[in-house]
């Protein structure tokens, strides 16, 4: 009993930080996926803050994960900025998912410094409803991360930073950090590494990209394919596969 009263006294002190006392944020963006919303303390993507997505390589469904929320925010502010995207978004596919492709501003900076600068400018201007920033090959230090986080806060902009999985161990000031891993059968495994307002470690599996339940049945169809094995393309294969594995980003060539 003595112990408890001492603990009580300790808790009364104003300088003892308690996660449960932290004010819950009022504005969140629903992710559009109920299991993920439930796993997040605030029930959605943190608006006016940075969310980090840590991936082994691009193209495992990270964009699809963001689409439902992007669709929602685009109705308020029509501009969404993609900073140094790995490839060109396919306008028809974007439109099919309910996002307006013309509202997507593609920014292709020449180097790392320009990338950070433009991300900061776009975030704090408050003109865009969302900023997705691909920094898979860049190493960001915590000062740079903090600046991005502060810019997102100032501009009240939803910021998503796509980074490589190897950066997961680095401490980061971002409000939310998710590690993404693709599973067989097209499932996407999400591990919450950090979230504001409480404990982390939640794991969520989402069926994403593309709808495989439909696909698996379709794939049993007999294909009218002329099965010709080609020899002279083997060099190209190893190139492509290695480029995907090593997370090298194929630069977008603008006409």
């Amino acid at each position: 009993m003595l112990m408890n009263s001492e603990l009580e006294q300790l808790l009364q002190l104003p300088n003892v930080w308690q996660a449960s006392r932290l004010k819950r944020r009022t504005t969140v963006l629903s992710t559009g996926y109920t299991p993920l919303d439930k796993a997040l303390h605030d029930g959605g993507w943190p608006d006016s803050a940075t969310t980090e997505l840590l991936l082994p390589h691009v193209g495992i469904g990270e964009l699809r994960l963001l689409i439902p929320a992007l669709r929602k925010v685009q109705q308020q502010r029509p501009w969404v900025a993609f900073i140094s995207p790995p490839y060109l978004p396919f306008a028809s596919a974007v439109r099919l998912l309910g996002l307006n492709p013309q509202g997507v501003l593609l920014i292709t900076p020449r180097d790392e410094r320009e990338q950070l600068w433009s991300a900061e400018q776009v975030l704090q201007s408050g003109c865009c409803s969302a900023v997705i920033n691909w920094a898979v090959t860049t190493q960001l230090d915590s000062r740079q991360l903090r600046r991005l986080q502060q810019a997102a806060h100032r501009g009240q902009c939803w910021h998503t930073l796509v980074r490589h999985r190897s950066q997961a161990k680095q401490p980061s000031p971002s409000a939310l950090r998710l590690s993404l891993q693709s599973e067989p059968q097209g499932l996407l495994q999400l591990n919450i590494l950090k979230q504001r307002g409480g404990w982390s470690g939640q794991q969520v599996k989402l069926a994403l990209t593309p709808d495989l339940t439909k696909l698996q049945t379709l794939s049993t169809f007999q294909l009218p394919l002329p099965l010709v094995q080609l020899q002279h393309n083997t060099a190209a294969v190893s190139d492509t596969s290695s480029s995907i594995k090593s997370n090298n980003v194929i630069p977008i060539s603008t006409p």
């Binding site: 193209g59 292709t108 408050g126 693709s182 593309p210 010709v228 080609l230 596969s241 977008i252």
Partner: protein, 521 residues
């Protein structure tokens, strides 16, 4: 129009007797302008500053003599074109006081009868204009009269005879005095101040005429037949409605300020790096800002030209889509553009030219306002685009432009975002997700990447092989197009890479090769 109805005019002439010298001192800066300076024309001095006068240099002295007297003398060849440009710039500056402005050689003319009340009296107005010119480094002598010609004449007379008192101040500060107020003063002016050939003036003096009064007393027809029409016209425009004679003055064309801003600074090669540009750029931009405010417009492109001594000039254009009149905004955009620019050689001069303007108020409204952004939001967005474009270059910002085509790579193109295109983009709201069975990849590779054949589902083990990490999970969807030119027949498949990502691949049925075309991101 009857004369009784005609309002009395009041012209203020600002005579700049040392215009080329003032210009030179301005370029050199206050400290260097203290040294002996001279303007030379045909190897003779035409203008000398006070420091040079103190060394004994005089106007019309030979250049060789001048150098003998003062070896450190700085000279500049006279340039009529530069003088005229400077005068025009000053006339535009004077446009802020009154809408009726004009210029004559070495002089500015302002019709001020309409703005006396606004500037709280003629003496205050004169003071304000004087101070304005002084701060720009120009020396001026004033003349006030009821006509342009008379004001100009008074100003020149006063320049040459500073000791002689001309009582040209009107009795009432707020109302232009009637023409008779100037009569006696005008009549005692010597004939030498008429604007005409020296020969003619000599003729008039030889005829025993000394002052303007002598001329005005003579019948105009007689004068005209003897000395020519220009003299009569000049007298008429001098006198205005002072004499009820048959003088017909030539209609005077008012100065209409052109909507081109051009200003420059000369450096004599002292500036070698972009840091040194900060000050001249700020000066030029503040001049521009004043110009913009006066004309009620905003600049849509600043064009900087860097001139070097022995090197082709560089041009740097700063595009501005937001309507900005403030110095800080323009400075910021210029600085961003300059970050990626370095001088090719020591700088001789820097020019700022603005030819494209947009009106501030007459913002065009979209026909369907519900489809476009609110104006304020759009302006913020444009300001952002300006910043990005000036730092990242013109090709860094793009949006996707959709086209009605069959082949995926032709369905879209990257459209560079410029201030002009951004206005044309309307953003239609997409009401609902289209319900379709089609599954398209979110990422498209601009050019299909050749790959080897992926594993097909007929493969029993479904195991990734060494030759290809891709395994087809869905397909095909056939696209057959462009039979009219270069036929494209493709079967599209969805394939799974063994790292977990999904790819969009196709087989070109014409050459049987496989290509990777997109990713399901």
């Amino acid at each position: 129009m009857k004369k009784s109805q005609q309002r009395d005019q009041l012209w203020l002439c600002l005579h700049l007797p040392q215009l080329p010298l003032d210009q030179l001192s301005r370029q050199l800066g206050a400290r260097k302008a203290q040294a002996p300076l001279a303007i030379v024309e045909k190897q003779r001095l035409v203008f000398v500053n006070t420091a040079a006068q103190a060394k004994g240099l005089r106007i019309d002295m030979r250049l060789a003599t001048a150098y003998a007297l003062e070896p450190d003398l700085q000279v500049m060849e006279r340039n009529d074109e530069h003088e005229q440009k400077a005068l025009e710039k000053l006339t535009e500056w004077a446009y802020q006081f009154t809408p009726t402005v004009n210029n004559k050689p070495f002089s500015l003319l302002l019709e001020v009868s309409g703005c006396l009340r606004l500037f709280r009296g003629v003496s205050r107005l004169r003071g304000q204009i004087q101070r304005g010119l002084q701060s720009k480094g120009f020396h001026c002598v004033e003349g006030l009269a009821h006509t342009q010609e008379a004001a100009w004449l008074f100003a020149r007379f006063r320049t040459d005879n500073p000791e002689q008192v001309l009582s040209d101040s009107p009795l009432n500060e707020f109302v232009a005095p009637p023409a008779t107020h100037w009569k006696t003063m005008l009549e005692q002016m010597p004939i030498a101040y008429l604007d005409g050939a020296e020969k003619q003036q000599q003729q008039l003096i030889n005829a025993g005429l000394t002052t303007l009064k002598d001329l005005f007393l003579l019948p105009s027809t007689e004068l005209g037949s003897r000395y020519g029409k220009p003299l009569i016209e000049q007298l008429a425009s001098l006198a205005g409605n002072l004499y009820d004679k048959q003088y017909t003055a030539r209609p005077v064309q008012d100065f209409i300020p052109s909507l081109v801003f051009l200003s420059y600074r000369e450096f004599q090669g002292e500036i070698t790096n972009s840091q040194g540009l900060e000050l001249p750029i700020t000066e030029l931009l503040s001049e521009l800002c004043q110009f913009l405010v006066q004309h009620g417009v905003a600049a849509s492109q600043l064009s900087w030209t860097f001139y070097y001594f022995k090197h082709p000039s560089d041009q740097l254009n700063v595009d501005i889509s937001s309507k900005q009149q403030n110095l800080a905004g323009l400075q910021h955009l210029t600085r961003l553009k300059l970050e990626s620019f370095s001088l090719s050689a020591p700088l001789e001069s820097l020019a700022l030219k603005v030819e494209r303007f947009t009106t501030l108020d007459g913002a065009s409204q979209s026909l369907f306002p519900e489809l476009s952004l609110p104006t304020e939001q759009l302006n913020d967005f444009k300001a952002l685009l300006d910043k990005l474009m000036n730092r990242l270059g013109d090709n860094a910002l793009t949006i996707l432009d959709e086209r009605d085509e069959h082949l995926p790579e032709l369905q879209q193109s990257c459209l560079a975002v410029t201030p002009l295109t951004i206005d044309r983009i309307t953003l239609p709201k997409i009401s609902n997700i289209e319900n379709t069975s089609e599954i398209l990849p979110l990422w498209l590779s601009q050019q299909a990447i050749p790959i080897s054949a992926p594993h097909l589902p007929t493969d029993e083990h479904n195991a990734p092989s060494a030759t290809s990490p891709l395994r087809v999970v869905y397909g095909p969807k056939r696209i057959d197009s462009h039979w009219w030119q270069h036929r494209q027949q493709r079967d599209y498949f969805i394939a799974r890479h063994n790292n977990g990502s999904y790819c969009w691949v196709y087989q070109n049925l014409l050459n049987q090769r496989w290509y990777l075309h997109g990713f399901y991101g």
